[in-house]
Amino acid sequence: MKSQRLKFYQTGTFTVGNRLLSDEMRSVQATVDRNNSLNSGHRACQGCGEALGARYAVDAVMRATNGQAIAVNATGCLEVFSTPFPESSWRLAWLHSLFGNAPAVAAGVSAAMRVRGKKVTVIGQGGDGGTVDIGFGCLSGMFERNDDVLYICYDNEAYMNTGVQRSGSTPPTAITATTQGVGEHPGQEFGGGKNAPRIAMAHGIPYVATASVADLRDLEEKVTTAVGIRGARYIHIHVPCPLGWGSDPALTIQIARAAVQSGLFPLYEARHGRLVKATKIRRKVPVTDYLQPQKRFAHLFGKTPNVAAIDRIQAIADANIEDYGLLDSHEDPPISLQI
């Protein structure tokens, strides 16, 4: 019998319609069983991608470990908005020490658990500043020693906690408080920044993955996979920041999805330094779909659009698509289902 692969898109959002799935595959937003590790009442901004990413990531950890987990947090937005003393949103054992040492602290917690004979999963988490900049030495050391830690970076591409300054993860042309929208080349220069997940892979650690709040099921699955592996693991999650990016809080998911679907933020998994899986783009969009809703890129779309810069960004996305094989060579025509 002739068959055709169907892709299920919900109109507008492109998420898989829950109602089309069997019961066990359906996602559940809230149940009484959910741990709610990052509980409501915290002080994150509206539409905060980091809060969403952390909530799903840590809950996935708690589910996968049956609650036997400890979190270590770098200084940053996630730490500040979740623990204004004497309140705490965390419903798991949680430790904050400093900005640049979360991977080392987590490694120490892990060592203590091992020596005390306790089977506990230790996660470290931080933003891009705490991870790819000030904490990078500790992160690399933790990777190199293959310490039993799952480290999660919530990447919103600048120092948001201190007022949106450039980080080693800020993309080209993005305007931040320290890469201002003035001069001949407004915003962050081309050629800067570092690819933290690739550097993690270069350590040959057991597991590296990228994820996005645009695909929470994928994110949960990767976290669950990581929890099942021993040794150093790294998940890099792309999380829009409405405040720092100058975007509508309601568009957080849409913007995150545009990053994935344009190829700017490829989703993949690697084991022991080798790429094992890259998530195909379902319907390719131009990078302008990602850039245009964000004020940090608004200077590209003025009276005379900066076509050269946009083309260079498109070239970055296209190179990713090529490098990671993000497009099916035999693309099936998408079918929209109105339900």
Partner: protein, 425 residues
């Protein structure tokens, strides 16, 4: 080296300390190499690797900052923790040093005391631990390798009783690299003195708590006061531990202050660490000549025992502080603190800055300085064995010499009389 051999033996200071640490049953040790503390962690590495020290996790980390950070995690997760560092290493971990005390984590750390650069210098003085004197850590100074060994065993108990981290300071090279006799206690003795670690707060999935939350202006002062209060308590605990230690091990080690031939002394010399041996030799020599001189050793620098020190010094007509550090533009740090202990007494205090960057402190020079102070012939502070001609030359040449060499290079040239390497043009 002979591991876990109780009794008297002739060993290197670092190895004696390593064995004392092992007898204290640490569960997580982190290590980053810096001279002169390295032999201690090397010894412990061998013990963990061979299984002689078990259960224990030994972490080779990528920096001193990571070394202490790892222990912050391990201590918060309920493990007894230890590391050692010196000099630049202590400064590199400075942010974590404050963090550990702020979090109330009973980490024990050896400081192999050493100068701080620039100019780079690997030799002994007290600049490193002094730089972190107000970090909230307890700082104990050892006079000998026996005392260093004993203080480490006491330090774990002190730290865990107060939930406050402790630095045990021992003079780099002078103690760490010296072979001398020590009396190594048995495992049974140490176990009887030091019970297993019971943390006051711990990361536990079955009873989850948040540690390290942000504290605003409404409570930060109170939290800092509580750390201050721990140090006030520590003054008592340290003296109690000294007595308890003597009951268990039969020797006097640690405590706040210890006096030597001080009863009728008109001049009292105060110092910290290994230089106290030389000072006692000097005191004996001068006593033989009829000088009424004695000495006081300060073991606990933080907490600073204001009352005990005042009590020890109040009978003197003159107090001399001999210290291995310099508060630039001010003088001696220990002297400043001591003046606070003596406030209202009008006792003249003289400062001798000595031994910076490993400059030997010969008994001859010490005796000469003491005599000069007794006759009122010296400046304040007095810099022991300073090469003044070299300094005058350097000062006179300031601004005159083209910037082809650093001031440090010029002084070195003038002191040694040897041409030092010039930069290549």
């Amino acid at each position: 080296m002979s591991t876990f051999m109780p009794g008297r033996k002739q060993v290197e200071g670092s190895h004696a300390v390593a064995e004392a640490i092992a007898l204290s049953r640490p569960q997580v040790i982190s290590c980053y190499p810096i001279t002169p503390q390295t032999h201690i962690v090397e010894g412990l590495s061998a013990m963990v690797k061979s299984g002689a020290l078990s259960p224990c996790e030994f972490m080779n980390v990528e920096s001193e900052f990571a070394a202490l950070s790892a222990l912050i995690g391990a201590s918060a997760a309920g493990a007894r923790t230890y590391t050692a560092t010196s000099s630049q290493g202590l400064l590199f971990m400075a942010e974590a040093v404050y963090n550990a005390s702020g979090l109330g984590l009973p980490i024990v750390m050896t400081i192999g005391n050493r100068a701080i650069g620039a100019p780079i210098n690997i030799w002994n003085d007290h600049s490193d631990s002094m730089a972190l004197r107000d970090s909230g850590w307890i700082q104990l100074h050892a006079e000998s390798n026996q005392e260093a060994l004993d203080l480490h065993i006491q330090a774990f108990k002190l730290a865990e009783q107060l939930s406050c981290p402790v630095m045990v300071c021992m003079d780099g090279f002078i103690l760490t690299h010296a072979y001398e006799e020590v009396d190594m206690p048995s495992q049974e003795q140490v176990d009887a003195f030091l019970p297993p670690f019971v943390p006051q707060q711990v990361l536990d999935p079955s009873d989850p708590i948040t540690i390290g939350a942000m504290v605003g202006p409404d409570a930060y002062m109170e939290v800092r006061y509580l750390l201050h209060h721990k140090h006030l308590q520590a003054v008592e605990v340290i003296e109690n531990l000294r007595k308890e230690f003597k009951r268990h091990f039969g020797r006097d080690s640690g405590g706040l202050v210890s006096s030597y031939r001080a009863d009728d002394a008109e001049t009292l010399v105060l110092a910290m660490g290994s230089i106290n041996g030389t000072i006692r030799e000097a005191v004996d020599e001068m006593r033989d000549e009829g000088h009424r001189i004695g000495s006081v050793k300060l073991c606990s620098y933080r907490p600073f025992p204001l009352e005990a020190l005042r009590e020890a010094l109040k009978g003197a007509k003159r107090v001399i502080i001999l210290e291995k550090n310099l508060a630039t533009g001010l003088g001696g740090i220990l002297a400043s603190n001591t003046r606070m202990a003596l406030r209202g007494l009008n006792t003249p205090v003289n400062t001798i800055i000595a031994g910076l960057g490993g400059r030997p402190i010969p008994k001859k020079s010490v005796v000469r300085a003491f005599r000069q102070i007794e006759t009122g012939e010296v400046e304040e502070p007095h810099f022991l064995d300073m090469n003044w001609p070299a300094i005058h030359e350097a000062i006179n040449n300031r601004g005159l010499v083209k910037r082809r060499e650093s001031e440090a290079q010029r002084v070195l040239r003038s002191v040694s009389g040897v041409e030092v390497a010039k930069p290549v043009r």
